[in-house]
């Protein structure tokens, strides 16, 4: 077998393997989309795979008509934006002074923060704290506890340190205060890394589920993930009961579940391709470590 043939076989096999992986990666989404657009009769008899059968938009009409799904979506957008803005403001406020190696007491501040990366009180003491602060069933209960990620803060510190000091000194001589330097020189130079960190905060909040599960009981304060979970969970329980033969309980139609899943996935899928490079650069910055 000549060198060239071997090479060609390798390339072909490789491309085929990658295509299979891509299909495995996407197939579940396509199946769910097909389910969400099919009639419940076709779904019930197991006819739907990757193409809608007896095309129907009824499930989506219901999701939109219900209103609570839309309300939850709008609330989650608001929650995510507010939480990301506050997180970034606080992370910058912490990172800028701590990036200065001559800051008096720097070691102690860092110690106080880094300890929290390796040891935490656990979810029960956290719950009791939130309860004592009267933050249960409040938007603030979902925002404040995760305000600063020490890990992202360290990424930002590392980035700030990479900015040439001469730029800052020049500003200092011109009589610029620390606030002024931060606003006029440091932040404009840090836009890419700030975009990356904002994205990580935003995705974390958007996908966040455990805190909402623990802290929120009022349906009007359900973020999208909790709302979706309640829908699916309720269904899973009834399905298990049916498996055991316990009565015919009202089950949400599969198409409606699927439509809700797609409805909740869409915002991420729409945003992701445009912001992909920021996500990836974030992983790289993080890997360089602080």
């Amino acid at each position: 077998m000549s060198e060239n043939t071997a090479n060609r076989i390798f390339n072909t096999v490789n491309v085929i393997l990658i295509i299979i992986t891509m299909v495995l990666c996407l197939a579940p989404f396509i199946h769910i989309i097909a389910i969400s657009l099919s009639s419940n009769r076709a779904i019930g008899s197991g006819e739907v795979s990757f193409f809608p059968k007896e095309l129907s938009f009824e499930a989506y009409t219901k999701v939109f008509a219900d209103g609570s799904m839309i309300r939850s979506l709008i609330y989650t957008v608001w929650l995510t934006v507010l939480s990301t803005v506050l997180s970034m403001a606080m992370t910058i406020a912490a990172a800028y002074p701590l990036a200065k190696s001559n800051l008096k007491g720097r070691k102690w501040f860092m110690l106080v923060i880094v300890v929290t990366m390796f040891f935490s009180g656990g979810i029960i003491p956290e719950y009791i704290l939130i309860k004592n602060l009267h933050l249960l069933d409040s938007t603030w209960g979902l925002i404040l506890p995760g305000l600063i990620s020490p890990f992202y803060m360290i990424i930002l510190i590392t980035f700030f340190r990479g900015i040439p000091e001469s730029l800052e000194e020049a500003a200092g001589i011109d009589g610029s205060s620390h606030f002024g330097t931060l606003m006029r020189i440091i932040l404009p130079l840090s836009l890419p890394v700030m975009a990356t960190l904002s994205l990580f905060y935003a995705v974390g909040r958007w996908n966040g589920f455990q805190d909402a599960l623990m802290y929120i009981t009022k349906p009007e304060l359900y973020p999208l993930q909790l709302k979706l979970y309640q829908m699916i969970q309720q269904n899973q329980i009834t399905e298990l009961m049916q498996n055991e033969g316990i009565g015919a309980v009202q089950v949400l139609p599969e198409s409606l579940k699927a439509a809700s899943v797609i409805f909740s996935t869409l915002p991420i899928l729409l945003v992701y391709p445009w912001l992909q490079r920021y996500f990836i650069s974030g992983v790289m910055v993080g890997a360089v470590k602080g």
Binding site: N7, F10, V15, I18, T21, C25, P28, H31, I43, G46, S49, T91, A93, A94, P97, K100, K104, F109, V112, T116, F118, S120, G121, G122, I123, I124, P125, E126, Y127, I128, L129, L144, P145, L147, I148, V203, W206, N207, Q210, Q225, L226, L228, Y229, I232, N235, Q236, E239, E254, K257, S260, V261, S264, T265, I268, L269, Q276, F279, I280, V283, A287
Partner: protein, 300 residues
């Protein structure tokens, strides 16, 4: 005098630090203060400081609790299986991606393969039900149409392990390639060219150049994984798991939630949480020590 000049010049830096430090004290050290609940007969009316000390009673109870041992075992077993399956997957995938010749195809593949990482576990849970469900799941529909019996992917504990691992690979393999791809890109191209001149096949080049070239990355990531052996996320086992497979799906994080917040055994749950935090600390410090010894690089 010197100090006062320093502070007059730099007070703004401390002003900036004020709110973040208050945040850490309240929201991170507050719960640490609350850890004493593990040594108290806690009830909500008397609060943390009002409740009575009971010494190590809660820990005695923990170590006699069958549910705790099950959750501890499951945490270690699920993490270990993940290490066997989900650890090599991105490594293999990264090497395949790296060998792709057409840039546009590589880019497309990466874009698609990263997507699952950004999907929340709740949504993945919804997808899992549709794909693995016993009654009307996609896979079982296919099995049944071919004349086989449906498989209990979600309600039998052994099948459930498979589901849990498969979903983990699906969610993490693509995104996990990023660091490997980065260090593969860092390998000197001349090594490959020289090997080609010497007539080394593609597979040999992978084996003798690519893999050794990213050894440090592999070892570091492996150590981090082992260091996190005792800690396990909440969302994945909680959402993918269900009552029927609890014997395998209940892990420390879901155990603490169930016992502490659903059954109200606050003291017991806090003790379990503290146990987990302390063992986790030992693991991660051990991992860091090992990493320093092996690769001269601290992981933190």
């Amino acid at each position: 005098m010197k100090t006062s000049i320093y502070f007059r010049r730099n007070w703004q830096l401390y002003a900036l630090l004020l709110l973040p430090m208050i945040y850490f004290i309240i929201f991170k050290y507050g719960p640490m203060y609350g850890v004493q609940i593990a040594f108290k007969d806690f009830n909500f009316f008397q609060g943390i400081s009002g409740s009575e000390w009971i010494g190590l009673d809660a820990f005695r109870e923990v170590f006699q609790n069958q549910g705790f041992y099950t959750a501890l075992r499951n945490t270690l077993v699920l993490n270990m299986l993940d290490l066997l399956v989900s650890f090599p997957a991105p490594l293999i995938l990264a090497i395949l991606l790296f060998e792709l010749k057409k840039a546009w195809f590589k880019k497309l593949a990466q874009t698609l393969l990263y997507i699952p990482h950004f999907i929340s576990w709740v949504i993945i849970g919804g997808i899992v039900l549709q794909v693995f469900g016993t009654q009307s799941g996609f896979i079982n529909n296919i099995l049944m149409s071919m004349g086989f019996d449906p498989l209990p992917f979600l309600s039998d504990k052994n099948y459930w392990l498979f589901t849990y691992l498969a979903v983990g690979v699906w969610q993490s393999a693509g995104w996990g390639t990023i660091l490997y791809l980065a260090s593969l890109t860092g390998i000197n191209r001349e090594l490959y060219e020289a090997a080609e001149v010497d007539g080394a096949s593609r597979l040999r080049r992978i084996w003798h150049i690519s893999l050794p070239g990213i050894k440090t990355t592999i070892v570091t990531l492996l150590i981090i994984n082992v260091g996190n052996m005792i800690s396990i996320g909440f969302d994945r086992p909680f959402i993918i798991g269900n009552v029927a497979v609890r014997e395998y799906s209940d892990v420390l994080s879901t155990f603490v939630y169930r016992v502490g917040l659903q059954s109200g055994q606050v003291t017991l749950a806090t003790a379990v949480g503290l146990f987990q935090a302390l063992v986790g600390l030992v693991f991660i410090l051990g991992a860091n020590y090992t990493s320093k010894k092996l690769t001269d690089e601290s992981i933190m």
